[in-house]
């Protein structure tokens, strides 16, 4: 386990996916853990009608010093956590930069435009290659696949949290996440802790 340090101030994290996937759950869980650790955290979100299957993102800004605004400037994401591959690329298109760290779930969610035939979903291999090309470091985290193995596709989100924390780029570790996950999932704590550990494993921790 790497030492818990804030590598940059503010550290800009973007969590992205499709409305309904659980974007807010991830940002709230990670944000709460960071506040417990004494950081000043701002979480900005898209929401509202976007809950109905549109693209969603959370901007999480972490500082030791001051409360930053809820929006990240163009090109200034330090870490992008993607719950869906196309949405990951959408974020890199606006917020990426040569130093960005990306980790994402490669499981596509087809938009209604794709389902209806008005738009085309890109070839997955090409998509993954493109994401890698735009990132300084990339982890492909098969969160949905692993969650399905655990019998609950929804814990894909907790697997992603495990991967994010496991990457060592946030000033968090397993110990700082445990009480937050216990609070958030009082009935399914064991399962979520298992999913969290699986996420850490997937990223090589």
């Amino acid at each position: 386990m790497t030492e818990k340090i804030l590598t940059k101030d503010p550290l800009n994290l973007i969590i992205t996916g499709v409305g309904g996937q659980g974007n807010v759950m991830i940002s709230l869980t990670v944000g709460s853990a960071l506040v417990r650790e004494g950081y000043v955290v701002t979480v900005g979100e898209t929401y509202g009608v976007s809950q109905r299957g549109g693209p969603v993102m959370s901007h999480v800004r972490i500082s030791k010093e001051t409360q930053y605004s809820p929006l990240i400037l163009e090109g200034q994401a330090d870490i992008v956590l993607g719950m869906e591959p196309v949405e990951t690329l959408r974020m890199l298109g606006k917020y990426g930069n040569p130093n960005v760290i990306t980790m994402f779930n490669p499981r596509p969610i087809y938009s209604v435009d794709v389902i209806g035939g008005e738009a085309e979903y890109p070839d997955l291999d090409k998509l993954i290659k493109t994401i890698k090309e735009l990132s300084a470091k990339t982890w492909v985290v098969n969160a949905t696949e692993e969650a399905e193995k655990m019998g609950k596709p929804i814990v894909a989100n907790t697997i992603l949290i495990g991967a994010l924390v496991g990457s060592g780029f946030l000033p968090l570790d397993r110990k700082s996440m445990e009480p937050v996950l216990r609070e958030r999932f009082p009935k399914a704590f064991e399962l979520n802790m298992k999913a969290f550990d699986r996420g850490m494993e997937l990223i090589g921790q």
Partner: protein, 645 residues
């Protein structure tokens, strides 16, 4: 969601702006809270209601915003501090009452109204700036610039409200209301509320008379005095501050989330020694002496605010009345065209403006990288339009509406309304909705359309509304339609809660905001009592729904009602397992060879279906599908199979 009633003074919590406002109300010792849900305001009552019992307060999702405000005023009359919360559009609904309340004064309990505005209309049908309403109605106005202030201002406004005997307004915008940040908690008061309306002592010897606006001119004069008193308090408010050099190249005057953006941009451009920021928290009446003191900081002043040039106008108005030897800076902002008087503000826009005004060039990121990233995103990122959720009853309803209107053949159409079903303007609702205004307006507009027979109008008119909207604003429109025998069908999409904003209960619910049993008001009984013909359908029963709609459309003149009853899938899915296991039989699905031309994906558009290009057949996305089984009923080939799960 976090517990806003946590008794941990001095600790820092990650709170949404709305939760911070709710916490501030608790720290102020409120005894009463009301609201009508509306993004981005819903979490204020949404976080108060679950802790209401523990904190000994009453919390209510009211039928609409004017009743919410009136009920909160009732608590104030009896000496209980009360808060009412709504989105910007709701303040319009409440404004009739507010325009009188500001003159008649309050009871002994302070009263605070919170408006959460939605610049950019992310989840609204306008981007109205409710600060104008505070000014035109006569309510002292504060706006928080961060999460801590959201709490602290709310608490302080109760003291001000009681001191000046007037309702006060807190205005928040999306990026404060709906973002999260650190909030340091204060003490929760241990207070017992004793509600009593003292008719003898409260009413006598009060000039002008309380609880009524008459005589209006003297009440109006009293209101102006109250506002002057508020202005005096604002002059020394800790919610206003200046950061920057004594002499600056540029002075930014800002408020709300624009404070955040201004500060971040100045930091990003390393302009701390050249650009000053005057952040205002008490917006109206403008603390003129405080502002005047800072006008000589720079020759150039830029106003940064959302949405209207509210501070810009107030400061310019004040500057115009200053003595001739006062500083005469040049004002920049929306009037000068440097910033837009529409849409949401963000740093990406602001940084360009400030860089250009200070003679800097700003490059957000490596040019080559930017070019590549933008191009790749353009090539590989398909559109992702918003849509009804998988298993949404509205998709089935609008499917039947579409087919019924086609079968009827008289160019009938739907006049829409707001709510999730507003998506019926889009492909997900088969473009069925033809108009879309404020809550209840679909039925109101149908009233007029349905009385145009004498002018040759013979198209069937279908008005749609949701269950919460029905109670909120449709009942008077329906009464009008029944009474005047206007020819339309009202379709109530009853999905069992206020779905768009997070399933808040309404008068048709069996539990109230605090989870206690409530008197359930049956919408069909209510409609029948007006004399309207009412039918009830299950939208998933496509055959019966279409037949019922056709039959209703063929009937004589007059307003009729069809209730489409089926619980929102997001609620049902939490408690129950999917009713069906759905799959596509690859032997039956003949893909492109079928005359249906991919009806299930191309037209029905459910996110739970996938058109597999390789096999040229449909399949089900099992992670997304909720097992409603409706697609099995529309497949002409019978290739989609639903089996009881």
């Amino acid at each position: 969601m976090p517990d806003i009633a946590i008794d941990a003074p001095g600790t820092s919590q990650l709170f949404m702006g709305n939760e911070a406002i709710a916490r501030g109300a608790l720290e102020a010792g409120i005894g009463f809270a009301t609201a009508y849900p509306g993004t981005p305001s819903s979490e204020i009552l949404g976080s108060l209601a679950p802790v209401a019992k523990k904190m000994g307060i009453y919390a209510e999702w009211s039928v609409n915003e004017i009743v919410a405000t009136e009920a909160a005023a009732g608590a104030s009359l009896a000496g209980v501090r009360a808060i009412t919360a709504m989105k910007q559009l709701g303040v319009n609904v409440a404004s009739d009452f507010l325009s009188i309340l500001v003159m008649s004064g309050l009871g002994k309990g302070g009263l605070v109204l919170v408006s959460c505005d939605d610049p950019g209309a992310i989840s609204s049908d306008n981007e109205e700036d409710a600060r104008n309403l505070a000014k035109s109605l006569g309510m002292p106005l504060l706006e928080p610039g961060n999460f801590q202030e959201a709490k602290d201002m709310t608490k302080w406004l109760f003291d001000l409200s009681e001191e000046i005997d007037s309702i006060c307004m807190l205005r928040s915008v999306t990026r404060i209301a709906h973002s999260r940040g650190n909030v340091k908690l204060g003490e929760l008061p241990q207070k017992e509320h004793k509600a009593y309306f003292d008719q003898i002592h409260d009413l006598r010897d009060v000039k002008p008379t309380k609880f009524m606006p008459h005589p209006v001119p003297s009440h109006h004069a009293a209101l102006l005095k109250k506002l002057e008193k508020a202005r005096e308090r604002f002059e020394s408010s800790p919610f206003n501050w200046y950061v920057g050099p004594d002499k600056a190249d540029l002075l930014i005057i800002t408020c709300g989330s624009c404070w955040f953006y201004s500060r971040d941009v100045v930091k990003e451009l390393k302009l701390e020694d050249r650009v000053g920021i005057l952040k205002l928290g008490t917006l109206w009446p403008l603390p003129e002496k405080f502002v005047e003191k800072h006008l000589n900081k720079s020759q150039k002043i830029l106003f940064v605010e959302e949405v209207d040039p509210f501070l810009e106008r107030s400061v310019m108005e004040m500057a115009a009345s200053l003595p001739p030897d006062s500083p005469r800076p040049t004002f920049y902002g929306k009037r000068s065209g440097h910033l837009n008087a529409y849409g949401e503000m963000d740093q990406d826009v602001l940084i360009k403006v400030i860089a250009s005004m200070t003679g800097l060039t700003y490059q957000p990121r490596d040019i080559e990288y930017a070019k590549k990233a933008e191009e790749l995103a353009k090539n590989y990122v398909p559109e992702r339009s918003i849509a009804f959720c998988p298993g949404c009853p509205h998709r089935a309803t609008f499917w039947s509406i579409k087919n019924t209107l086609k079968l009827d053949g008289r160019n009938g159409f739907v006049v829409g309304d707001i709510g999730c079903y507003g998506l019926a303007l889009r492909p997900t609702g088969f473009y069925q909705s033809r108009s879309h205004y404020c809550m209840g307006s679909g039925t109101g507009v149908a009233n007029g359309l349905g009385k145009l027979g004498q002018h040759g109008f013979n198209q069937p008119v279908l008005a749609v509304c949701g269950d919460s909207t029905f109670y909120h604003a449709v009942i008077p429109a329906l009464i009008n339609g029944v009474h005047n025998q206007s020819n339309f069908i009202l379709i109530i999409l009853d999905n069992g809660g206020t779905a768009m904003t997070g399933f808040q209960p309404h008068p048709g619910s069996e539990l109230n905001a605090m989870g206690e049993p409530a008197k359930f008001i049956s919408m069909e009984d209510l409609c029948r009592s007006m004399g309207a013909h009412v039918e009830i359908c299950d939208p998933f029963d496509l055959k019966n729904t279409t037949a019922t709609l056709l039959e209703m459309m063929a009937k004589d003149e007059g307003a009729k009602v069809v209730v489409m009853r089926r619980q929102c899938e997001l609620i049902r899915g939490r408690k129950e397992k999917p009713p069906y296991k759905v799959h596509v039989d690859p032997d039956e699905c003949i893909g492109e060879a079928c005359g249906c031309d991919r009806l299930c994906t191309r037209v029905f558009h459910c996110p739970g279906l996938i058109w597999d290009k390789e096999s040229g057949k449909s399949r089900i996305d099992e992670v997304i599908c909720t097992g409603c089984g409706v697609c099995a009923d529309i497949c002409p080939q019978g290739a989609i199979v639903k089996e009881a799960a």
